[in-house]
């Protein structure tokens, strides 16, 4: 069931269209990630949903209730939407307990009990209760911020790059912890991020924004394997994009003949592969030179960049026409070929064809 429906929403700042005719629906209880490079309008969209900005046109409905209809909006404090920012935005003059309890009824008898419950929910040690925000680490501040937003039992939780100020290791832990908490409480969540890994691993639905426009929305798997255009493909992860000739269920390219969902399409098209689809097997030079044909491709390793878990291998494909530039492929350090080796390229799965 849809809980949030954004319909044809636009917002301009002078000549710049920050949000350009965006429509998006968010299913109840789901986690949606809005991802895009900086300046793509994702934070503006989030602010419009939160009620800190009014859209120029379009409408936003939460649970059937009209929150914004063009520039006339229901103000933020009457929306029941939780908001967690990049730095947590804790009130520096209040203790952790008072920060968490800020949205609770001040005279409520079970206020303290509720604060303790919330601290347990976000796995925050009760020792922290009387500390001030500046005495907490970044991760702890984010937990307090999340607890503070959860206290009001919001219908919708908005997370504005909540992990980007944290260290790499901590970031992943926090992401998992936050996802677990939100799942437990069953609150519909929208996460805004510029980190595509974060978006893909956190969300059930990912919406890619570019220059204020919604480029594509769908499940993480769908977006990763079937991106709508080359820019989106490259944004969501390493992608090898190359020209190919399409036939009945196959594509012919520098990587040889590979299966593809061609449908009715024939002729020239751009195709995309994810580097993890490629498997390199070292072979003798003679075999490579002899067997290389249009179906099976062999290549010579022209450069290797060792990078620990992931290494860069540069291949020049044998038998491909001269227009084909050297291919850069990420490969695991295990079975890494040496420079000058010949390798056979096997492609698992299908290639994706751009429309």
């Amino acid at each position: 069931m849809t809980i949030l429906a954004i319909e044809r929403t636009s917002k301009r700042y002078g000549p710049v269209c920050a949000v350009d005719d965006i429509s998006l629906t968010v299913p109840s209880g789901s986690r949606t990630a809005i991802v895009g490079p900086s300046g793509s309008g994702k934070t503006t969209l989030l602010r419009i949903i939160a009620g800190f900005e009014a859209p120029d046109s379009g409408s936003i409905r939460l649970d059937g209730e009209l929150l914004a209809d063009g520039p006339s909006i229901i103000p933020a404090h009457r929306r029941g939407i939780g908001f967690v920012t990049q730095d947590g935005s804790l009130f520096p003059h209040l203790s952790v307990a008072d920060n968490i309890g800020f949205g609770l009824e001040r005279r409520s008898p079970d206020r303290h009990k509720r604060i303790l419950e919330l601290m347990d929910t976000v796995e925050l040690d009760r020792i922290m209760l009387d500390r001030r925000p500046h005495q907490l680490s970044g991760g702890q501040q984010q937990r307090v911020s999340l607890a503070r937003a959860l206290a009001r039992e919001p219908r919708l939780m908005l997370l504005d790059e909540p992990f980007s100020a944290l260290d790499t290791g901590l970031r992943e832990n926090m992401r998992k912890a936050v996802a677990a908490v939100l799942k437990k409480t069953g609150i519909t969540t929208i996460l805004v991020t510029h980190d595509q890994n974060e978006a893909l691993s956190f969300a059930d639905q990912v919406a890619v924004l570019r220059q204020g426009k919604l480029v594509q929305a769908g499940s993480p798997r769908e977006l990763y394997l079937k991106p709508v255009d080359p820019v989106t493909a490259a944004f969501l992860g390493d992608a090898i994009i190359l020209p190919a000739e399409l036939g009945d269920g196959w594509s012919q390219s520098a990587f040889g003949r590979v299966a593809a969902d061609t449908g009715d399409r024939r002729g020239a098209a751009d195709i995309m592969l994810r580097p993890e689809q490629l498997k390199l097997t070292a072979v003798a030079q003679a075999e490579a030179l002899q067997n290389s044909d249009a179906h099976t491709r062999y290549a010579k390793v022209s450069d290797i960049e060792f990078g620990g878990a992931v290494c860069n291998v540069v291949l020049s494909v044998l038998g491909a026409d001269n227009a084909c530039p050297p291919m850069q492929i990420r490969s695991s350090a295990i079975n890494l070929p040496a420079m000058g080796d010949h390798v056979r390229i096997d492609v698992t799965g299908k290639v994706h064809i751009f429309g």
Binding site: P75, A76, H77, T85, F91
Partner: protein, 180 residues
């Protein structure tokens, strides 16, 4: 005004703010003379009343207060106001409970600064104060002009003593800001 100049930076607000600073840069005697002229010519009953004196003080010292207040409001990020609104506070409540609360130390410092200035203010007081008003500064001035330094000294001492707690407050405030 301080809140406006930080949060809503429009052309009108900038002009309004600039007016404050412009008046603040005028010597006290200029403002005082202007007020004397106005009160004598236009509203004579107000000449040499406490109201006119307070107006002069406001014109002269409000800019000083504004500078302090403005910077302390700028230190309270707008995200905190937004966070408060997302937690069910109305915009007015958000400003009063968060921004004003965070700006309070800065506001106190501004009050201290202004109080220091007014304690030592002489020219406007002399020209505008009702007859018979005696402040430390005017007494000191009157006595030194009679070359009665011994009698003037206690007034000077009292000004210094009165300024001390305010100066200490300002010092503590500046240390707190650096310490953060």
């Amino acid at each position: 005004m301080g809140w406006l100049s930080v949060r809503a930076t429009g052309r009108f607000q900038r002009i309004l703010e600039a007016c404050h600073y412009y008046v603040g840069s005028l010597p006290g005697v200029v403002v005082a003379l202007a007020l004397v002229t106005i009160t004598v010519r236009v509203v004579l009953p107000l000449y040499q009343t406490a109201a006119t004196l307070l107006l002069a003080y406001a014109l002269l010292f409000l800019p000083r207060a504004l500078v302090g207040l403005r910077s302390s409001i700028a230190q309270a990020p707008v995200e905190l106001e937004r966070a408060a609104m997302a937690l069910g506070r109305t915009p007015v409540q958000a400003v009063s409970q968060i921004t004003m609360r965070l700006a309070a130390p800065g506001a106190a410092a501004s009050v201290a600064l202004v109080a220091l200035g007014i304690t030592n203010e002489l020219t406007a007081t002399l020209m505008l104060a009702p007859n018979g008003t005696r402040t430390l500064a005017t007494e000191f001035w009157a006595l030194t002009s009679e070359i009665d330094y011994a009698a003037a000294a206690p007034y000077a001492l009292m000004m210094v003593v009165l300024s001390l707690p305010l100066t200490l407050l300002l010092y503590a405030q500046s240390k707190r800001i650096i310490g953060r």
